[in-house]
C-alpha cells in the first residue's frame, strides 16, 4: 500500500476531542498517519506549536515501534488514540511487537557532544526528545501488547 492508500485506509475517530488512527508500522504509513493526525489536531483548534510538538513526539514513538518492537522486518499494526484536554494531550499507542528491553522505557539524557567529528552521535535522539517534550510517560506490557501513554503539554500557541 502506498502513502495515499495508507491515508485512505487509516481509521480516524470523529469524537469532538478524541482522535483514533489505525496504521501499519511502516515508514510511508507513519508519514501518512502523521499528516492525518496533524489535520485532525488543527481541525480541533490546536495551535501550530502544539501541533509541531505532538507530531514530533508521535513520530519518534511510531518510529521506535517500527524499528524496535517490530524490528523493521515484519511491520505490524499500531493503534493510536489521542485525547485533547485543556492542559494537554494524552496519546496512547498500542502495538503487538516485541516488548521493550527489560520491559522498561529508555530514559536517556541529552546526547554527549564531543569535540572530535567522529565522536558526534548519529542516533539516540528519539527517546531523549520524547522525554524532553512530554510531562508524563507510562509503558506497560499487557497480554502480548505494548501500551505506551504519553502526555504532551499544551502551550496554547
Amino acid at each position: 500500500m502506498d502513502a495515499q492508500g495508507a491515508r485512505a485506509g487509516a481509521t480516524t475517530g470523529l469524537a469532538p476531542t478524541g482522535i483514533r488512527i489505525g496504521l501499519t508500522a511502516k515508514e510511508a504509513h507513519i508519514r501518512a498517519a502523521l499528516a492525518t493526525l496533524r489535520r485532525a489536531l488543527a481541525g480541533r483548534g490546536l495551535g501550530p506549536t502544539d501541533c509541531d510538538t505532538t507530531e514530533l513526539v508521535l513520530a519518534e514513538a511510531l518510529n521506535n515501534i517500527a524499528e524496535h518492537a517490530y524490528g523493521g522486518q515484519h511491520p505490524g499494526p499500531v493503534r493510536l488514540s489521542l485525547r485533547l484536554g485543556r492542559g494537554g494531550i494524552t496519546a496512547s499507542l498500542r502495538d503487538r511487537g516485541g516488548p521493550m528491553s527489560g520491559s522498561r522505557m529508555p530514559e536517556p539524557g541529552p546526547p554527549a557532544i564531543g569535540v572530535r567529528r567522529e565522536a558526534i552521535p548519529e542516533g539516540g535522539f528519539g527517546w531523549f526528545l520524547i522525554r524532553d517534550l512530554t510531562t508524563a510517560r507510562r509503558y506497560r506490557r499487557v497480554r502480548g501488547e505494548n501500551r505506551l501513554t504519553l502526555c504532551i503539554p499544551r502551550t496554547g500557541s
Binding site: 513520530a59 518510529n63 541529552p110 546526547p111 557532544i113 548519529e122 542516533g123 526528545l129
Partner: protein
C-alpha cells in the same frame, strides 16, 4: 530526496527541495549528500528553508552527512524554520553545526 547544489564564491549551497527529512527520507538524504559532497569544494551550506519537519532519524542523517565529509571539508546549515531549529537546540546539535540565518550572502557564510 531532491537536493540542488549551486556554487557561490567557492561555497556549495545545497538546497533541500523537500518538506521533510524524516525516517522515510533519511537514507536517501544521506546517499544524495554523499554524491554531492564527494568531489565538491571544502565548504558546504545546507539550505533548509523548505524543510518543515526533521525527526531524530533525519537529524541523524544530517549529522552522518557531516561525518562522511573529507577531513578538510565542512558542512554548515542555513535558514532553519523555528520548528526545525528547536530540534537542533533540544538535542544540542546547534553546537555541532554553524547555523546561518540565510544562505543568500556568501560573504557572511564564509565568515561564519
Amino acid at each position: 530526496m531532491e537536493l540542488r547544489s549551486t556554487r557561490s564564491e567557492g561555497i556549495a549551497i545545497i538546497r533541500v527541495d523537500a518538506g521533510r527529512i524524516d525516517a522515510a527520507a533519511a537514507i536517501r538524504f544521506k546517499d544524495a549528500m554523499r554524491t554531492l559532497t564527494k568531489d565538491g569544494p571544502d565548504h558546504f551550506v545546507l539550505d533548509m528553508a523548505q524543510v518543515e519537519f526533521v525527526d531524530s532519524s533525519g537529524l541523524g542523517a544530517i549529522v552522518a552527512a557531516m561525518k562522511q565529509l573529507g577531513p578538510r571539508q565542512r558542512l554548515d546549515l542555513a535558514a532553519l524554520r523555528p520548528e526545525v531549529d528547536r530540534v537542533f537546540r533540544l538535542t544540542r546539535m546547534d553546537r555541532v553545526f554553524t547555523i546561518h540565518a540565510s544562505s543568500n550572502d556568501p560573504g557572511s557564510l564564509a565568515a561564519g
